[in-house]
C-alpha cells in the first residue's frame, strides 16, 4: 500500500506496509524510473541487475564502456564467448541493432554526454551530488579507478545504487564525502534500500521511502525535517 505523505513532505511517497528493499528490488525501482528509449550504462556489480528488470518494450539500450551498444543479458551455456563481455568482464550477449566500437570512441560517447543514464555504486554521496566510489583512501589500498570517473561526469543523469547505511549504521548520504572523490556534483539521484533521494545544488530531498516514514529517515540521515532539502 502506498501512502502519499501530506504533512511535512508534500511530494514524498512512503511505502510503510513493508520493510526496506532488497538490492534486487532497488534494481527494479531504477528500472521503473528509467526513461523509455534511454541509452544507459549500468557499470559493474549491483547496478547490472537493473537489466533483469528492463522489459524489451521499454526500448532501453544498454552501453558497456568496453565498446558496445545493444548489450543483451548475461551469456549462459553455449552463449559464452570470451570476446563478448561487459565492463565487469562477465560474458554477455548481443541484441539485434547492436554496435561495436573501440575504447576511445566508447568513452567519447560517454564524455560527450550522449548517454541518458548511468547507474553506479558508491561508498558515499554528498547532498550536493559529489560521488565517492573508487577508493577507500586506506593507506594499504591499491588505487584502481577503471571507468568510474569517466562515467560519473559523462551521462546526462547519474543514478547511484547503494545501501543507505553502512554495516555499522552510518549514513552514506553525507554533507561532505570523507572518501576520495570520483566526481563533483555529478549524481542526480540515489536509489537505496530505504529511499530514493534526489541530490544536487539544492541539497538532498527524499522522494520515496520503504519501511519507514520520510521524517524518520531524514532524522537518521541528518537532513532538515522541514522540507528534506537542506542538510543540517
Amino acid at each position: 500500500m502506498t501512502t502519499p505523505a501530506t504533512t511535512e513532505t508534500p511530494s514524498v511517497i512512503e511505502h510503510l506496509d513493508r520493510g526496506p528493499l532488497s538490492m534486487n528490488e532497488v534494481a527494479g525501482v531504477i528500472a521503473r524510473d528509467m526513461p523509455a528509449g534511454a541509452y544507459a550504462n549500468l557499470g559493474i556489480g549491483h547496478p547490472t541487475k537493473v537489466a533483469d528488470h528492463l522489459t524489451a518494450d521499454r526500448g532501453v539500450v544498454l552501453h558497456t564502456e568496453n565498446g558496445m551498444l545493444g548489450m543483451g543479458p548475461k551469456a549462459v551455456g553455449d552463449q559464452v564467448d570470451p570476446d563478448l563481455t561487459n565492463a565487469g568482464k562477465v560474458p554477455v550477449t548481443e541484441l539485434p541493432g547492436a554496435a561495436y566500437f573501440h575504447h576511445a570512441d566508447s568513452f567519447a560517447m560517454m564524455r560527450g554526454g550522449h548517454l541518458d543514464v548511468c547507474v553506479l555504486g558508491a561508498y558515499q554521496v554528498s547532498v550536493h551530488g559529489d560521488l565517492a566510489n573508487w577508493h577507500t583512501g586506506g593507506a594499504g589500498d591499491i588505487p584502481a579507478v577503471g571507468g568510474a570517473m569517466d562515467l560519473a561526469i559523462g551521462a546526462k543523469q547519474v543514478f547511484v545504487m547503494m545501501t543507505l547505511f553502512t554495516k555499522t549504521g552510518e549514513p552514506k548520504i553525507v554533507a561532505e564525502c570523507s572518501y576520495p572523490l570520483t566526481g563533483v556534483g555529478c549524481v542526480s539521484r540515489v536509489y537505496s534500500d530505504h529511499a530514493v533521494i534526489e541530490v544536487g545544488p539544492d541539497g538532498a530531498r527524499l522522494l520515496e521511502t520503504w519501511g519507514a516514514p520520510a521524517a524518520e529517515l531524514a532524522e537518521r540521515l541528518g537532513l532538515a525535517r522541514s522540507d528534506q532539502q537542506t542538510h543540517r
Binding site: 564502456e65 558496445m68 570470451p82 568482464k89 566500437f101 573501440h102 575504447h103 568513452f107
Partner: protein
C-alpha cells in the same frame, strides 16, 4: 609497410630494454597472450606497460611482471580478484603505478596517434587524480590538461588480417586495440586468421594497414581457451 611473420618470436624481435609497450585487451578479451609470452622469451626488461589492467593469475601481463621485466605500469584498474602478482610487486615497491581513468587512458593514446599535443578532459576534476594537473575553465566547465601517451611498441590482438595488414576485430575484444595501433611507433598484431587480399569489406576495416607494422597468426584455440577462463 606491414610484414607478416611466421612465428611470434620473429614478430616481437628487437624490443629494446626501457621501451614503453602498449598492451591491448580488457580483462582477457583482446589480450595478446601469445605476443606477451613472446616478449617474455625475448627478454626485454625495464619496460613501461600501458594497459587497462595489470594482469590476472600468473599468465600474460602477470607473468611478465613476475619475470621482473616491468618498471612501471600505467593502467586504469590494476586491482582485480586475481591480480596478486602485481599487488605484491606494488606493495613491496618493485613496480611503479600511474592510475589513469579509463577514458583518459584511451583518449591520451588516441591523441598520441592523432598528433594532438594535449587536450582538456572533464574527467577527474576535483578528485585526487587531478593532483599536479593543469586545470582550466572553458565555457563554464572545468577541465584538466592531459598529455598523449605514445608507445614504442603496441601489442594487439585482432581477429583477421589481410596481407596488407588491414584488421578487423571480434565483438568487445576490439576495445583498446585500434587505439593502441595508432599510438605506437611499431605495432605488432597477433591474429586468429589471415585472409586473402580483397576479402575484408573496405567499409568495415577497423584498423587500416597504415597503422600495422608486423602481423603473426596464432592458434585461435589457445586464445579462446585463455579467454574462457
Amino acid at each position: 609497410m606491414t610484414t607478416t611473420y611466421d612465428s611470434v618470436d620473429e614478430a616481437v624481435a628487437g624490443i629494446e630494454d626501457g621501451s614503453t609497450v602498449l598492451v591491448g585487451g580488457f580483462g582477457l578479451a583482446g589480450m595478446p597472450f601469445d605476443l606477451i609470452d613472446g616478449l617474455i622469451r625475448q627478454g626485454a626488461s625495464d619496460l613501461t606497460i600501458v594497459s587497462n589492467n595489470a594482469g590476472n593469475g600468473e599468465v600474460g601481463l602477470a607473468a611478465l611482471l613476475k619475470a621482473g621485466r616491468v618498471r612501471k605500469v600505467i593502467c586504469s584498474f590494476p586491482r582485480q580478484a586475481d591480480s596478486y602478482v602485481f599487488d605484491e610487486l606494488y606493495r613491496s615497491g618493485k613496480v611503479e603505478l600511474e592510475v589513469v581513468p579509463q577514458g583518459n587512458l584511451a583518449e591520451r593514446m588516441r591523441a598520441a596517434g592523432a598528433g594532438i599535443g594535449g587536450f582538456y578532459s572533464p574527467t577527474a576534476v576535483g578528485t585526487p587524480l587531478a593532483d599536479g594537473k593543469e586545470q582550466r575553465r572553458i565555457d563554464g566547465r572545468d577541465y584538466l590538461l592531459e598529455f598523449p601517451i605514445k608507445g614504442d611498441y603496441a601489442l594487439v590482438s585482432a581477429y583477421r588480417a589481410d596481407p596488407m595488414g588491414n584488421l578487423v576485430y571480434r565483438k568487445t575484444a576490439r576495445n583498446f586495440g585500434p587505439v593502441m595501433a595508432t599510438a605506437a611507433t611499431t605495432t605488432i598484431v597477433q591474429v586468429s586468421e589471415r585472409v586473402p587480399l580483397g576479402s575484408l569489406d573496405p567499409e568495415a576495416v577497423v584498423t587500416p594497414s597504415i597503422f600495422v607494422d608486423r602481423v603473426v597468426q596464432v592458434d585461435a584455440r589457445s586464445y579462446s581457451v585463455q579467454g574462457a577462463r
